[in-house]
Subunit: 299 residues, 2 copies
Amino acid sequence: MGDLESIKVFLAVAEQRSFVAAARTLGMTPPSVTRSLNALEEKLGVQLLLRTTRQVSLTSAGAAYAARVAPLVQGFDDATEDIRDGQSQTAGLIRINAPMSMGERVLPDVIAQFRTLHPRVSVALTLTDRMIDIVSENTDLAIRISEPPKDKLTIWRKICRVPRLLVASPRYLDAHGTPETPEDLTRHTCIGYDSDAGPEVWDLANGASRRRITAGAVLSSNNGDLTARLAINGEGITLLPRFITADALQAGTLRPVLPDWTPPELWLTLYYPPYDRLPTRLATFSDFFETYVTETRPM
Amino acid sequence: MGDLESIKVFLAVAEQRSFVAAARTLGMTPPSVTRSLNALEEKLGVQLLLRTTRQVSLTSAGAAYAARVAPLVQGFDDATEDIRDGQSQTAGLIRINAPMSMGERVLPDVIAQFRTLHPRVSVALTLTDRMIDIVSENTDLAIRISEPPKDKLTIWRKICRVPRLLVASPRYLDAHGTPETPEDLTRHTCIGYDSDAGPEVWDLANGASRRRITAGAVLSSNNGDLTARLAINGEGITLLPRFITADALQAGTLRPVLPDWTPPELWLTLYYPPYDRLPTRLATFSDFFETYVTETRPM
DNA sequence: CCTGATTGTTGCGATATGTGGAATAGTGAA
DNA sequence: TTCACTATTCCACATATCGCAACAATCAGG
């Protein structure tokens, strides 16, 4: 018999001063109560109860032990109940990891709105642009912009497409000319995303036509906002998600380039650790995030 | 598997981030660790660990649970250790029950001296003149002046004889005359001890001669000090332990009566609850009490 | 004083539970 | 790709656990 269960039996007997009464309330048989208590007393090496066939009372050691362990048992029960609630209800901590570009733009508002809906949820937000090992980083949910799979032990969920377009600053285009065809890009400075997988490749499509351009030969960055700033400063042409360049396009500090040629689709994707079944709070947040990003604030 | 043990396994795995390492430190096999954790997670309905064959990490629920139950487990271990120490060493609480006459005279000094020798012992002292049911009164040790046995479930230990003698005040003796033989007592007011067993009987012996006198017909009390005061006030003759009347005899406010005739011996006796084996602190106190009462301050 | 009812304990047989060793699948490093 | 290591699963076996029934001890009531 487990220790904790023995202690619960002991507390029940100590409270009711009866073996059979304790057995009834615990749904056991009197013999089990006897054996459980014998085991506990033997384990402790201390006599806890004074038994007569007609009455049961505590030794002083038993009384001290009962007073001491009763709150601990209560603490276990509370912890069990809380963790169960936290699992079934949408409460508890969500550790989110996201790329910096999203962390600075959409996430503060997402989290604020979500927390007004679910006040019992806490959020711990870390920003990383590198793709992380989700399990070793202690993350419940990683937001990434990528083409879905990676390894087979993470679970992912596609949220929405992330439109991208080629952009450059008016000053740059005035100085170097506006490309008319993908082939023209080879004569331009193409600011690429700096990945350790090697230089970035832009696979552009226009209807059935496809062209492949290698970017980042002379200038690259591993951060979308930094890349955008370089482009605005007139350093070259780059390929970025629209939500990063939207403000600059609106302000006219960036202009679309080759608008008929579209790069491969990227997906806003949620990655989860290898849960067998997702905790409620993560599912709830994922749903909320999807509606937010597709309806409230489309990318 | 017991709950508490499962939790310990979980904590070991959470700390070492490895099943086999935890199995080693706990002296188990890896399969047992796996099963134990599966059982715990199933019981809680929550996934606590994210397992990959190469690394183990905590879910946020698991981290919260670990942080919460770790001090509780520590509390159990501490409680277990303390109660073991308290049993083997002379420490802990001793609940003593004594008659009022002793509580006011010898016990304060006994307890004070004992506690300077054993500072980790606490004493809870209750005074009752009635013989109590030791188990239902939550007492570890009852001090009584009586003829030993009562029922068969209590354990007793004779400490020493308690000499008694017949006494009366000089004023009473002057007024009513001094008895010369036990038979004279029948013409006197004999203050008896008020027990529900009926009127007190004085069995007096002088060598081979024996006389039986019934006392308490007109005046009785259930408290030795009160009886002594009545005698000092000249209400009659009474039979009391010497340690109660010693001061009055010294001061001359009481005088011995029929000094050649001695009543049956009473024994200072310690009664214990039906322990299978006596806790150390009770044995130590009993030994100390015996030496105190036979050597330091004989009755 | 005796009897009946209740309580805590023990013996025993059936069941279930847990155990360790070997085999398996998955993963990271060389 | 191979190799070493990890967590898991499978399976046979031993152990313990359980409930029922019988037993001893005690108290209440006649």
